[in-house]
């Protein structure tokens, strides 16, 4: 970081009537008036408490009035510094039109000269971060939408909203704290005011360089003998938030930098809308995470509709399985007859099938119909896929790709082998397991290639929902004797009951009159707004057929869109080719620079320039808008 701790040279906008500065020991006192506004010109909320500290380290609290001004009386002339109390995320970015780095301001607030009788200062702060929590544990309904203040914030900041959806296995997390003055290398003097409380909560990204943060004493660590300092990874965890919040601070910062903001002047900094959803189902249960993604996508519809109705341009960036959240929402909007609700959708390393964006459900390779979002394209003006064949999570590295799939196919030439393969989800040492493990990296989690990983989770999902003898077939009697020795009749009865339950669920949902009813047995179809009784019956038929085929899929599995992009599907599908030709679909092939599924969170210079700057932000600003950054 190139910053220095030296606060900006700040002059009082009004000095004493004589023009002389008063010596500190003089009995004259100052009235300090601070006007507090955010970068959008709004006065900070009336009633917010401001704590001002003078050179005597005396504090003076005052509340912001309706005009955004706090009035601090009896202050000793000389330097003052201040902080807001109870206003998380409103970081100071300028005083009297001189910009300051909010991260330094949070460590050592700028110290301004004040002189008798009265000094006015103008402080500018970032607007607060905006987050929406679509996790199950969050409060229902109300929290799915933005408040009026948040809508106003987006309106003022260019009348656009950039939503970010994190990927698989991301916890909700929280913001952390700004590095303090004592943690910053080369800073020895205690500032006038050391921020506390909400002023320490960091909702923006900090650099891990130039910080020394001691680790608390632990086993084997004796500070008296040898102080241990956190390494950069540990520092990252300490200052830049955790879980979804870590993604927000990084994504928001990089988007702003790519749009042209510099660390010297944060006033153009634009807040994104961070969307949390429950994708943290554990490393193995990708199917449950997909169901969660679709449930979150249903809830996201309300937010998209709210923004659309408010006339705010909507752009969405999703990472990994976040693609399923937004595509679910778009598919529902498309089914409801909504057109072009979104301006641009950037699917970054999307963990959906490469043909997820076709308009024809019959193209779906997923045996339960979870693979394609046939109506999604109607609700968005442009979809840009950012993919990389070197992703490592969504598929094997490019060098191993060509024969990887062939080897998979070779291994599953018989149902028996397939059964073993699927069994490999829970059984170790399976041949295919080994093969997939050897393909490298987290691909060994094997949640992507269907049907690996599907049999177990579906069975698990229905364990307390489906009638007996369905997803878990009856076990034949040994030796086969007595009535129904192979369990065929029990299975038939079970499936019939299951079908009736599913149809009943569809019927009840329709009868409820809700636009987006909640489905339980039919949750795998939750990317559809409403499920007809016929669809419900067909779904159970598909499931029954799948179980009877020992979970063997009827069609070749598809590679991930985030891995191979549109390269294969455009050749076989004219709709995709047309959308690519008609600027509705586009892609950025990041294969030669993105080598990590989540490599954009803390990007290399190359990823920053190629993916963020040229792949996302330039077209985003040209096609729609990001904050108030200049369009053309």
């Amino acid at each position: 970081m190139s910053d220095t701790l030296a606060p900006p040279v700040l002059q009082p906008s009004r000095s004493s009537p004589t023009g002389d500065s008063m010596p500190a020991h003089c009995c004259v006192s100052v009235t300090v008036l601070i006007e507090h506004r955010d970068t959008l010109g709004r006065p900070l909320p009336a009633g917010t408490e401001v704590e001002l500290c003078d050179i005597g380290r005396q504090t003076y609290r005052a509340r912001i009035d309706a005009d955004g001004i706090s009035r601090h009386e009896g202050v000793t002339p000389g330097k003052v510094a201040w902080q807001l109390l109870g206003r998380e995320g409103q970081h100071l970015v300028a005083v009297d039109d001189v910009p300051c780095d909010p991260r330094w301001a949070a460590a050592a607030p700028p110290e301004c000269d004040v002189a008798a009788d009265e000094t006015s200062l103008r402080a500018v702060y970032l607007p607060p971060p905006i987050g929406i929590n679509l996790r199950e544990e969050a409060a229902p309904e109300a929290s799915d939408r933005l408040s009026d203040e948040q809508l106003e914030q987006l309106r003022l900041a260019g009348n656009n909203a950039t939503l970010f959806l994190h990927g698989y296995n991301v916890a909700y997390g929280s913001y952390r704290h700004f590095a303090g003055w004592e943690q910053r290398d080369g800073v020895t003097d205690r500032p006038l005011l050391v921020p506390s409380g909400s002023a320490r909560v960091a909702t923006i990204r900090q650099d891990t360089d130039g910080l020394t943060i001691p680790l608390p004493p632990g086993p084997g660590r004796n500070h008296a003998i040898s102080p241990f300092s956190a390494n950069p990874e540990q520092v990252e965890g300490m200052i830049n938030g955790s879980g979804a919040h870590n993604w927000y601070v990084h994504m928001e910062y990089r988007l702003n930098r790519a749009a042209g903001m510099t660390d010297d002047d944060w006033r153009p900094y634009t807040r994104i809308v961070g969307i949390a959803w429950p994708g943290d189902t554990g490393a193995v249960d990708f199917f449950q995470a997909e169901l969660n993604a679709m449930a979150a996508g249903r809830r996201l519809v309300a937010l998209l509709a709210q923004l659309h109705d408010a006339g705010i341009a909507i752009n969405v960036i999703s990472h990994s399985l976040g693609a399923r959240v937004i595509l679910t929402a778009l598919n529902i909007l498309g089914e409801q007859g909504q057109r072009q609700v979104l301006d641009n959708l950037y699917l970054w390393q999307p963990a959906v099938a490469d043909n997820a964006l076709v308009d024809d459900p019959s193209q779906d390779s997923h045996p339960l119909g979870m693979g394609v979002f046939p109506e999604a394209h109607k609700a968005v003006r442009k979809v840009v896929v950012l993919h990389s064949q070197e992703d490592g999570i969504l598929g094997p590295p490019r060098s191993e790709t060509p024969d990887f799939w062939q080897r998979i196919r070779d291994r599953i030439t018989t149902p028996l082998q397939l059964g073993r393969w699927v069994g490999g989800v829970v059984l170790a040492n399976d041949q295919v397991d080994e093969l997939i493990g050897s393909a490298g990296g987290a691909y060994g989690k094997k949640w992507w290639v269907f049907p690996i990983g599907l049999a177990g989770p579906i069975t698990q999902y229905y364990v307390d929902k489906a009638p007996a003898h369905t997803v878990r077939p009856p076990i034949p009697s040994q030796p086969p004797a007595g009535p129904d020795p192979y369990g065929r009749e029990r299975a038939a009865r079970g499936w019939q009951a299951f079908r009736e339950l599913a149809i009943q669920e569809a019927r009840d949902a329709l009868a409820s009159g809700e636009a987006l009813p909640t489905y339980r047995l039919l949750a795998p179809l939750a990317h559809h707004a409403v499920i007809s009784e016929a669809s419900a019956a067909r779904y159970i038929d598909s499931l029954e057929a799948l179980v009877k085929r020992q979970w063997r899929a009827g069609k070749t599995p598809r590679a991930a869109l985030g891995h191979i992009g549109f390269g294969a599907v455009r050749v076989e599908n004219r709709f995709i080719e047309r959308k690519l030709g008609d600027k509705a679909y586009d892609f950025v092939d990041q294969t030669s620079w993105l080598f990590d599924h989540s490599g954009m969170r803390i990007p290399s210079d190359e990823i920053f320039e190629k993916s963020y700057q040229e792949g996302v932000v330039r077209p985003l600003i040209r096609d729609s808008g990001f904050g108030d950054y200049e369009p053309i």
Binding site: G260, K583, E606, Q613
Partner: protein
């Protein structure tokens, strides 16, 4: 390196040359190159140095046969005319897109006959008009002119931006100056007549034909496509990772080069060496003004041509009157020389220079 195609010999000119600086001047025995000392040489094949001057490190440069008009691109894809004190900006309206950002060189091609030139970097589906935005606006961050742009070779002012392409785009002007043809990373190909640059023509998709623009949504998919003149795309002999045979000509374009005067050009796809029977090294042959591919011509894979790296897009060039195409090699420092026969419409690898 100076390669003598007739005698099949090579001469090392320098071991410290800017790899993006090799350029032959039209209808001339002179060429340009820049050393790592940043000195640009204008030199004859005989070895005689006509002129040399210091310049910024160039990322693509060209000179006309009068030797008086020199255009060079810098790392940020800005174009300057002249050098030294006389240097002035032609296109300087931002730092992004750039060579570093895109990983490709801004391509500049001249038509001395038509007194025009074309630059091509990163395509924009839509762009403002040249009246709305200035080509020289150094305070800007995001450039408007780095897509396909047609310029006047006398005034060095833009004639028109030619939007439609997407991401990395290659475009070239026909030697007679009548046509601009383009192809991009996202498989789109367009062409324009330079006397009416506002009208854009679409090349046929290799697999699906010509996309009929402007039709309403909701028609049968076939109605959006004219496939009347499609020809068969060569297919792989082996199955790919999906178990399907694949097209061996990819419309994901890395370079476009006229191969037969201003009549015909090759559109060359970006591809990796995927092994015998799998590599997509077939170039599509087009006639100027005709949207349909006429033939698919194999560039072969021994040695694999330099179609695997966008930063080497300038290593693919042609001599349209001589029907010659030259590429670099993907894994070696040599060149592949191909000769096109307009009668039989075939391409023969004539020499592999090592």
């Amino acid at each position: 390196m100076l390669w003598d195609i007739e005698r099949r010999k090579r001469e090392v000119l320098s071991s410290e040359a800017n790899i993006y600086s090799a350029y032959f001047i039209e209808e001339s025995d002179a060429f340009l190159w820049q050393g790592l000392d940043n000195i640009v040489r204008v030199q004859r094949v005989t070895g005689e140095v006509i002129e040399e001057f210091e310049h910024f490190p160039t990322y693509g440069h060209v000179m006309d046969s009068t030797l008086s008009n020199y255009l060079a691109s810098d790392i940020d894809w800005n174009i300057f005319h002249g050098h030294g004190e006389a240097m002035r900006p032609v296109m300087q309206d931002g730092i992004s897109p750039s060579f570093q950002g895109s990983g490709k060189i801004l391509k500049i091609t001249l038509s001395e006959e038509g007194r025009k030139f074309v630059s091509a970097g990163l395509g924009d589906r839509e762009s403002p008009s040249i009246e709305e935005v200035a080509a020289v606006a150094p305070e800007r961050r995001f450039s408007n002119y780095t897509g396909v742009t047609l310029w006047d070779l006398d005034t060095f002012q833009p004639i028109a931006m030619l939007p439609g392409n997407s991401y990395k785009v290659d475009a070239t002007i026909s030697p007679d100056g009548q046509w601009v043809v383009s192809g991009d990373e996202n498989t789109l190909g367009f062409f324009w007549k330079t006397d009416s640059p506002e009208t854009r023509y679409r090349m046929a998709s290799y697999d699906h034909g010509i996309f009929r623009e402007g039709l309403p949504e909701g028609l049968q998919e076939d109605e959006y496509w004219d496939e009347s003149h499609l020809i068969a795309v060569p297919k792989s002999t082996k199955a790919d990772k999906w178990g399907n045979t694949r097209s061996l000509a990819t419309p994901t374009t890395i370079a476009i080069a006229f191969i037969n005067g201003s009549e015909e050009f090759l559109r060359i796809g970006y591809a990796h060496d995927d092994g015998e029977g799998m590599s997509r090294t077939y170039a599509a042959l087009f006639e100027a003004g005709n949207p349909w591919p006429q033939a698919y011509l194999d560039l072969g894979r021994n040695p694999f041509p330099s179609v695997n790296n966008y930063s080497r897009n300038l290593s693919i060039d042609s001599a349209p009157e001589a029907n010659l195409l030259v590429t670099g090699q993907a894994f070696d420092g040599g060149i592949n020389v191909y000769r096109y026969d307009p009668e039989t419409r075939t391409l023969t690898k004539e020499w592999v220079g090592r």
